[in-house]
Symmetry: C2
Subunit: 545 residues, 2 copies
């Protein structure tokens, strides 16, 4: 059977745009002789629609959109994801569904059984799990259609007590199709292939997998839709981080390397491509073109600026150097050099006038108390005022330049350098930011070498270095990884051989700064556990220590 | 049977403190001849523990705490809530459990069946639902023990397909006990009594209900534990917003008004008491004593200051008046009068120096562009810098003074007046803020009358009034209520008789300001739908219009 895989970038709630994309792909598939076309999970609404699903108007619009699409399923069938109503007297009001449309009308709905409700997922907030299993008969084949998580219950210690494919297999299906919205993190594509291969091998039949692509605020969908044969061989692999479309013949599944993605990307290439897509879609879907950021001469803002320039065009990234009395000349020079390297507009706006005025204003209250964190933060906040004033005046979106290590230990000023509409590298540990800078410079020196090689400093007091108040980043990042990604408690981390006092000190910093992270912008997610919607800790609590 | 109800204020993750409270109450109950004592849901960990539940160390500590408590159950049995491991090979790793301890050891675990996963609740993120139902035999009685939501599936259109009491009733229980963590909103206590009464009437047996009390960051638990007889009559009612303890004899359930709360509180009294408790516990559990806030002379900061003074003591609330060149004399005078009325410390710190310096700094970039939102926001942000500098220097927590109407339509400056560690009235619409001010003044003029009666203004440009850019608050708040609390879409709201353009304009403001609310402090929750963890909307999306 000739089946088209449509890997598209949807816009949540933009029904006109989503329907047009779907109709365009149906037309394309028809004209190339496909018998069936498959779209991803909740394609009509975009994923994740979150609490839009609590609005009847929104769910009704999804139904209206399906009614617009159905008449185009003549000479071709289609599988399209959308939320539908649960009309049973008991249970949650909605299903996460796939409509099978054919001969111009809706033939069958398949509902999702396993509803992910961990990390960034909240599906049980809205949906009732499916309990009725049926294959889709189509042109002499029996299709086992499942939705994303439905195929993921194959671990040793499964999260769900039901396994949809176990229910479906008694109906002797010929073919598995899975429609997904599987968000990217650095090892996700590999995990995904493992899981899909397990299914292909277990049920001994071909598997077609269609994923979302594109960014939805902080969530990055990497695409990589694929087809495996019944022995788990990868036969087709669609593009990563781009829309893609392919027609496959399920009766002729042969390995041809030309049907796979040739360039196996390493971690830094993946993070780079994901973040560029994240910035691009954030601006594009909001209807903005221009970014502003504070370029300090440090590595974090340098990497952020380069990524923004790739996403938006260098001419659309306005860099503001905001030196204070404690800024070094080399910082300013390095920042200018970077801006010139890429051809990004920049200005240098000294913060001394504002800082001096506010120091004077506060003098009667601070009296002779020593210079401390209060004055350090004031500088960062005055920079925030200037950047936001420019943003408000000219319609730029401010990019936040904090990295994950800083965000973790609270090494940043709330309402100062923690400002921004979007955090670009807030899910990238400092040690990885260095690697990302090296990756950016892989062909030529885009980021001046001095920015990468000098010791990190906030330059908020004379001769300040990050290492004055933080452990070396390679140790810090290891401990943070164990605590945040691996959810190891202090006892477990110490048992792995780390110094007890150091672990205690770092975890304490992470915990007491929960209130700061509560107020930070959305962070583009590239790991299995990013700060934000996927990590939900109380602010007021006694933490483990 | 003599049963003690222990309504306590727990501290999430503070096992020593929680265990001590529990042991103290066991001792008290024993000395007064109780045969059983009941603590609330997840008493050992505090509620909600959120992603702490993903840490083995944390769940293990809960088990250790139970082992410390169990030996004290001699001569008395106890029911104590805690998370426990699910040892089955499939399913989520934990249960939300109640331990029945007696004769010094753990006799039985009962697990929660219905896991709320809407609004502020995320229980299916962590817990596997119970599927085995058994009563607890104790001293000749059979106790049907359930946990919070387990009794709430009594609507016409139930959210869950299982009803635990329907499963338990075949075992012929004599008595229902429900342990809860049921957060406050203005109509919650009434709804709760209705639901509990439905159960008492349906199953024709007495019902004991033990709730949490106290604030956990933004969530406010109001207590109000109670006992009903088998005809649904309210026999005992514990205090609201305070810890309480009572021993009841289930064999002698007679209505005595002295066992109920005599002062039936109206909406404003409830909101007032809830917010005062919220501030008090936020500071107390974090170990802070002193608050700072910007006192503008407007009603929002006035009400916030009064609530803070009640919670922390007037001497611990530092009010800073931050006039700009656009501030009116009456604002400054009104603010001073309020501070003097309550005996709160205050200072007046003009922002002109800082504003002038930053205007000068930006002049080469702004050139001759007209004064607009950019300059308005600059003033709010300079105030933010000054307040945060004082907060950093002296260890105050900054209180946010935004109301819900402002937060909804984005009428506030991000990194300016939207700053703060805690939003006190961010879930109170402007029209209700006026009512709250009247309530505060019910016995004498605490808030100067002029603050209440003058037209609201941000005073960021000459002769500015809120009504220049917003509809009248009574209309605005009605539409906001329908959209936010009732989740009515634009079509539905217009169908209720509101002007289409006005609805479109207001909803658009709510939607485009999602990015601002993403970065606001936790908001004390007093309605059924507050901004924050209970309302999860995408930032990047096309909204209904």
């Amino acid at each position: 059977m000739k089946i088209a895989l449509a890997q598209l970038n949807y816009h949540i709630g933009n029904f006109d745009s989503n329907v047009n994309k779907i109709l365009h792909s149906i037309q394309q598939a028809k004209s190339q002789g496909a018998e069936l076309i498959v779209f991803s999970e909740l394609a009509i609404s975009g994923y994740p629609p979150r609490d839009f699903l609590e609005f009847t108007d929104f769910v009704d619009e999804c139904g209206v959109a399906l009614e617009k699409i159905a008449p185009h399923s003549t000479g071709i069938a289609a599988i399209v994801g959308l939320p539908t109503y649960n009309y049973a007297p008991k249970g949650k009001p909605l299903f996460n569904s796939a409509a099978f449309i054919s001969d111009g009308k809706v033939v069958q709905f398949i509902h999702k059984t396993l509803l992910p409700n961990y990390d960034i997922f909240d599906e049980y907030r809205y949906f009732e799990p499916n309990r009725h299993f049926e294959v889709i008969p189509f042109r002499g084949k029996r299709i086992a259609l499942t939705i994303c998580e439905d195929l993921w219950n194959v671990q040793d210690n499964p999260l769900y007590i039901t396994n949809p494919m176990e229910e479906l297999k008694s109906q002797l299906p010929d073919l598995m199709i899975n429609i997904a919205a599987s968000p990217f993190h650095v090892s996700q594509a590999d995990e995904r292939k493992l899981v899909l291969r397990k299914n292909a091998l277990e049920y001994r039949m071909p598997l077609l997998y269609v994923n979302h692509v594109g960014a939805q605020t902080e969530l990055l969908f990497d695409g990589g839709s694929l087809v495996m044969d019944g022995e788990g061989n990868l036969i087709h692999e669609l593009k990563y981080f781009e829309e893609d479309f392919r027609i496959v013949d399920t009766d002729d599944l042969q390995v041809h390397s030309s049907n796979l993605q040739s360039d196996k990307k390493d971690e830094m290439a993946l993070i780079h491509d994901a973040l560029v897509m994240g910035i691009k879609n954030y601006f594009g879907k909001l209807g903005f073109k221009k970014a502003i950021l504070g370029l300090s001469g440090g590595i974090d803002s340098a990497v952020t600026a380069v990524l923004a320039a790739e996403a938006l065009g260098a001419e659309n990234v306005y860099n503001v150097l905001l030196p204070s009395r404690y800024s070094t000349d080399h910082s300013v020079n390095d920042a200018v050099k970077l801006a010139l390297n890429l051809g990004m507009p920049y200005d240098t706006i000294a913060i001394e006038k504002g800082f001096f005025a506010l120091e004077e204003t506060l003098l009667p209250y601070f009296r002779d108390l020593p210079f401390n964190l209060a004055e350090e933060n004031m500088q960062a906040r005055i920079r925030g005022v200037i950047l936001m004033a420019l943003s408000n005046k000219f319609g730029y979106i401010l990019l936040n330049t904090s990295n994950k290590s800083e965000a973790a230990v609270g090494y940043g000023t709330l309402y100062g350098d923690m400002n921004g509409g979007l955090s670009v590298i807030g899910d990238v540990y400092k040690t990885k930011v260095f690697q990302l800078a090296r990756y950016i410079n892989r062909n030529k020196e885009v980021i001046p070498e001095n920015i990468i090689s000098k010791p990190p400093s906030a330059e908020l007091r004379p001769d300040q270095k990050d290492s004055d108040s933080l452990p070396e980043y390679h140790i810090l990042d290891e401990i943070l990884y164990l605590y945040i990604e691996e959810r190891k408690g202090p006892k477990e981390i110490v048992a792995l051989g780390f110094d007890k006092d150091l672990v205690g000190r770092i975890l304490r910093l992470v915990n007491i700064n929960e209130y700061k992270r509560y107020q930070t912008p959305p962070i583009l997610r590239v790991t299995g556990k990013a700060f934000g919607m996927g990590r939900r800790m109380p602010i007021v609590a006694r933490y483990l220590s």
